[in-house]
Symmetry: C2
């Protein structure tokens, strides 16, 4: 697990694949086939210019009502509603929403930050699997190395305190490791069916990224993963299989 140091600050339009390959060269970390590159969603959203100045947002009447009830900025709520296809809970100042991609998270992944000149909202990538695939292709073109790519974001959980990083975009790695039918070392069929390895990889990468020290990319190496195209859609629980929606 290698936190990739030396990534420059990301701006809209930047080529993340190029920045990652250059940072590995500067820090003498040669990429290897089978590495998984975990990239924090916030830099992907920035590179893809998924940024909206709050000053440009006109809140709908419903957004204004929710904002008043929950003590939020109505322009932020307007963006949260636009990014959502369903609300799970709007309560106690929290908006737990289902995004257009199917992810369940606070504020539909719409983060506010205070950049020079006023508040700016950052939205999730339109198509995080596509973002991951483009970064993967770019890295392959520039370095000749076939890596997996995971776009990670920080989500809260029901029932447990604290947030963890999970995968919102996947390319070149199977997000779920299926153990059905496998046997343990004593020959018993395993009860565990499917491990969300992409979420475990995203969480592991968070441990070397930190939040405040400018390490938005981590490299995971030496982990026996199942190759394949992969998609974060496999991590989205269909509503008919969800006991909690």
């Amino acid at each position: 697990m290698i936190g990739l140091r030396g990534m420059p600050l990301v701006k809209p339009g930047d080529d993340l694949a190029k920045m990652i390959v250059e940072a590995t060269r500067r820090s003498n970390v040669a990429l290897e086939h089978g590495d998984v590159i975990v990239v924090a969603q916030k830099v992907v959203s920035k590179a893809e210019n998924r940024l909206v100045p709050l000053a440009d947002v006109a809140p709908s009447p419903f957004a204004a009502q929710v904002a008043a009830a929950e003590g939020k900025d109505p322009r932020h709520i307007e963006l949260v509603l636009r990014e959502s296809r369903r609300a799970l809970r709007i309560k106690d100042g929290h908006l737990i929403m289902e995004t257009k991609h199917g992810f369940v998270c606070a504020n539909a992944g719409v983060d506010l930050s205070n950049v020079s000149g006023g508040e700016v909202a950052s939205l999730l990538p339109e198509d995080p699997d596509g973002s991951a695939a483009r970064i993967r292709e770019g890295i392959r073109a520039l370095s000749g190395v076939d890596v997996g790519v995971i776009i990670s974001d920080t989500f809260g959980r029901a029932w447990r305190m604290g947030q963890v990083d999970v995968a919102v975009g996947v390319a070149g790695v199977r997000p779920i490791r299926d153990y059905r039918g496998e046997k343990d070392m004593l020959g018993y069929v395993l009860k565990v069916t499917a491990i969300a390895v992409a979420d475990e990889l995203a969480g592991a990468a968070e441990l070397v990224m930190g939040k405040s020290d400018g390490v938005p990319v981590a490299i995971v190496r030496g982990c026996a993963l199942v190759p394949g195209e992969g998609s974060a859609k496999e991590l989205v629980r269909p509503i008919e299989k969800d006991l909690f929606r």
Copy 2:
């Protein structure tokens, strides 16, 4: 992240700390101060003899009714109910329960396995923090090294497919990293408040443990963690702060 090879099979009464220290010596992995040792719940429960042959269990009338409705073994359901203080969902063959410790998981953590002579249920440790603390103390006594210890188990999640390993017992490491009030590299106060690092460590360890290959212990090294006594209770969301109970 080091999967510790060479652990013998664990039996009731075994001294896990001793087995871990001996396995590190056999595999030439010298423990270091600040290492975090992740130990799979199933070997902790075995060592603590939290095993119940199903043949010894007399199901209550309610357990029999639930078992009939959900297509389960009534003796298994009886143990699940005994280990629970609350039911979140009993539906579609799934029992999502709150354990006596406060963890929300399928079957209150009661796993069935088919050992020689019939089915045996494995229960979660009575006091997983205590289990972690005893392993930590044992390792310190035998090796002189102060490690953190996490007991991990495999839990499903609401809204997302696949299971991940999380922490059910903690000793010597703060399970939650609190970022409140910290600033990022541009000087902005961070929006993210608290990361459940113990769960991320447990999930990361799963990646090197696998399920079928007899690696129930992993060593995490070089991760900037906050020292402290720690308790998995900090990871249990109080019901009054839970939008989904």
